[in-house]
Symmetry: C2
Subunit: 195 residues, 2 copies
Amino acid sequence: MNSKPLLDYIRNHINLTAQEETLLLSKASNRKFLKGQFVVQQGDVCKYESFVVSGCMKTFYQDNEGHEHIVMFAVENWWASDFDSFITNTPATYCIQCLENTELIQFTYENLELLYREVPKLERLFRIIFQRALAVTEKRIINNFALPSKDRYLQFRAQYPEIDQRVPQYMIASYLGITKEFLSKIRSQLISDQR
Amino acid sequence: MNSKPLLDYIRNHINLTAQEETLLLSKASNRKFLKGQFVVQQGDVCKYESFVVSGCMKTFYQDNEGHEHIVMFAVENWWASDFDSFITNTPATYCIQCLENTELIQFTYENLELLYREVPKLERLFRIIFQRALAVTEKRIINNFALPSKDRYLQFRAQYPEIDQRVPQYMIASYLGITKEFLSKIRSQLISDQR
DNA sequence: CGCGACGTTGATTTGCCTCAACGATTGTGG
DNA sequence: CCACAATCGTTGAGGCAAATCAACGTCGCG
């Protein structure tokens, strides 16, 4: 298992002893997925909190008309899970699917709770992660209301240039809450603006 | 200071010893605000994480055209803060304003960090709070994309009936991301549907 | 080569916004 | 105790951003 990315990531936030790191890794499992495979299926219980070692995934909701709504992308050093399903052990409302071949390090609920008990600093790590994610997500709601689609797209590109390169346009449109056709029109307008 | 609501709230999530509860309260401060007063002003640093003992507040963003976009309401037993400002000690992007006379229990960053160190269980408490809030906020984004305004309003009313009663309609419209005029039209349509 | 996945472009429609005018209710000072 | 101003909600006319639908272009790949 290539655990270096995870340990580096954690070291950016908290300091673990060698024993604690060993314990952490002993409670983690490693899994590789091919492009297109599902890590979580809508309706199943989400059994893991997953750290992306390499690759890229999307978390999305499929509505009654079968339309996909992308909640988030997860690339290297991001966490992904249907948290609600994960905590409450209920069927997931989201799907998580790999957009590339992807390697994950995963934690079950039981192992994570055990780790929280043994290494309270991890509670801190995730407190910080969730706190930040909440701030970002709240801002996204406000931007969706306050900014026109064009501006949101520009902001997305500025904030996540790698993701803009890596994933198909129609998925970015979905993340922004607009149709692929409209994003295409925005882009062609941006090109003509440039002149 | 009426600390019972806070202690009850905390007891629902974790168990503190009497000493820990005493320490917690010794690091908290109590403040009362009148209807209309600002707890946080856009541009100032948000110095506190606030627990609502009684009353009601709104957190909102004011855009360049001066329009308000409501991020959340906070009634009894809710937390409110501009978390990003609070953690990073930078100017707040949101305002928090009282919609009624409101009593708060507040924690500064320094005191909260001290408490986290002394009582790691609190780290757990907030980890859980943020994790849940994140799940709710993500779902709100998806609903904004997937549901028409009418359905979002119905869902809001079902989820937060007390808030629907307590705050003016135009603020609910703002929370839902629509204009007050349009919400009014939705409501009159709902009444005629009923027949 | 031909098929599937992705992107583009145009015509039409629609959900919601803007603006403007008009109640209804509340509260407050003369 | 009334007058009058805020504050909040309603209604209607007109407009626009973005959706829908449909057709077509392009590239990579089995």
